[in-house]
Symmetry: C2
Subunit: 339 residues, 2 copies
């Protein structure tokens, strides 16, 4: 019966199935930048528990939501948040468009290039500078400004574009989660419009999956056409207790997994883990002065200017079984450009 066409067809089918099965077991490691250890294992276990339909902790695909803080969790946040560096570099353009600001603080100090005075800027000063960088522009025009800046600006320490300073292991974790039916959201204290300008290209996260701080936006006519124009007025602060609120506003579901690195993420981690079923909460600890930076509790500086990670958060993480990711120990490489 060997020559019978039906038999041949069956052999072809079985061979195809075998090849497909073989491919599956030969799939490359989805997390090559992670060292073997509890952090890597926590991610893999979580995905297995929640995606195996035979598991009691199975989560239906539509409910698979993972949220990621950005600054210090997905990319470098030292010496200052990238959006603040962007806004500082934009001050000259802002003053050119609104000359009255040249005599107003904190703009006057920036234009004068007085670095000693700039180092003493308060949060309020920096907020004014960030607001001025975005307000008065349409949402579309602002996105173009951000893209242009990112195309040429370089990080003071690494001398590379900021978009290359994303953490390779975290991008792998996002892709791995997405390959397993999770939707990955960025939930940032930075502004929603700033992060939307590059999140799709850099992280594969589309605009509808970016939750952030929001200025008031008005619908108005600009050059005779309707436009969404940003006002210099804060509308929503997506930080600390604001993060679960922002998640509700844009997603309307409680995440199954959340990734953060600072006190500003504590409530998001609490919210993600505060319900039944398999839950994953991870905190990036910056303890690698050689490859990135060492700050926060790793350097005995719980109150650093950015990315505050207090002892209280550390204690809560230990109590609740959240996983602390040691950059030094858990990441084989930090950036994709490393050899």
């Amino acid at each position: 019966m060997n020559g019978h066409p039906l038999h041949r067809l069956r052999v072809l089918f079985l061979s195809a199935l075998f090849l497909l099965g073989g491919c599956a077991t030969m799939q490359p490691d989805p997390l090559p930048s992670w060292s073997d250890g509890p952090a890597r294992q926590a991610i893999v276990n979580f995905v297995r528990q929640t995606t195996d339909s035979a598991s009691p902790q199975f989560v239906p695909p539509g409910q698979r939501i993972a949220t990621f803080d950005q600054d210090g969790t997905l990319w470098v946040e030292q010496p200052l948040y990238t959006q603040v560096l962007f806004a500082l570099e934009r001050v000259r353009d802002v003053v050119r468009a609104q000359p009255a600001l040249a005599n107003e603080e904190p703009f006057k100090t920036v234009v004068a290039g007085d670095r000693a005075a700039m180092a003493k800027f308060t949060e309020r000063d920096l907020f004014k500078i960030v607001a001025a960088s975005e307000s008065g522009l349409s949402v579309d025009a602002f996105a173009q400004v951000v893209k242009s800046w990112l195309a040429t600006a370089k990080h003071p320490k690494f001398q590379r574009p900021y978009t290359e300073l994303v953490y390779a292991p975290m991008v792998e974790a996002m892709k791995y989660l997405r390959a397993n039916g999770y939707r990955t959201y960025i939930v940032t204290g930075g502004t929603q419009q700033f992060v939307r300008a590059f999140a799709e290209e850099v992280y594969g996260v589309p605009p509808e999956q970016v939750v952030g701080t929001m200025f008031k936006i008005n619908y108005e006519a600009r050059d005779g056409k309707p436009a969404l124009v940003t006002a210099p007025e804060i509308f929503f602060v997506n930080d600390k207790g604001g993060k679960p609120v922002g998640i509700n506003m844009v997603i309307g579901r409680r995440p199954q997994a959340a990734f953060g690195n600072s006190d500003g993420d504590q409530q998001m981690l609490e919210w993600a883990t505060g319900a039944d079923g398999a839950r994953l909460a991870m905190i990036v600890l910056h303890d690698d002065a050689t490859r990135e930076f060492a700050y926060g509790p790793a350097a005995g500086q719980p109150d650093s200017k950015v990315g505050t990670f207090s002892q209280a958060l550390y204690d809560e993480a230990a109590k609740k079984g959240w996983t602390v990711i040691s950059m030094k120990r858990d990441w084989k490489r930090v950036f994709a450009f490393e050899p």
Copy 2:
């Protein structure tokens, strides 16, 4: 060569392709509740133009967004918005939980059942009643209250559950768009939390695709657990110029298609059609007193209490080529329960 296995395989493949092709042409009409006419044709043309990869107006799947107003566009809004009827029926429960309100207007009038006084309620009175129905509850608890109410409440004219009073042709249009790669969003003047409680079951629209009016929500402890609790304070009004702003907040993309029925939708329709490429804007005209209601311009009442559809909107629709859907003429049936 007829008996050669490769030839046989080719014949099998071609047969399979033919069968698949045959199935495609035998697919049932996706819009059976729509009469042949310009409204139906506008939808079909729009889908063809934007999903055929050879078309100059092709839209990549990720950018396929269609937004729908709810009240008067997806379901009945007369004699009052369903959410207002819900809130009025909830007043007794609200007063039981907060007895101090029993002596406060407009609650006193509702508890007394003074229908003549209730008929004179201002928008401000109704807003207070809607706010009281939602505030003080966690987001999860409120969803349960809405679900319970919808399970038993009946519409005064139709004597059927409100969830049966959705327009069958619009549900078909949503499904047809989704089958062609569009994501369908509800963009409502009602509250986001109210509509999220039933949108997935009734329209197949998940919580992350509901944009609505928002009360302030606080992240706080409730019974020792973190909860999102609604405050009696308005945070965002998703109506008129607020609709494009709400769309930006939750979606971050300009829709390719928008469906509305009143002046409150005008800016959303403008926004959706205010860019290049194939665009679809449709307005439901309530001109069917027999099967539903006749109001607005169809009844010479441009300023009816709900669903205002002014002559100005009518004129703009004509000028911009937006399609007016005549319930009477364009819909073979209005509700799924019709024979």
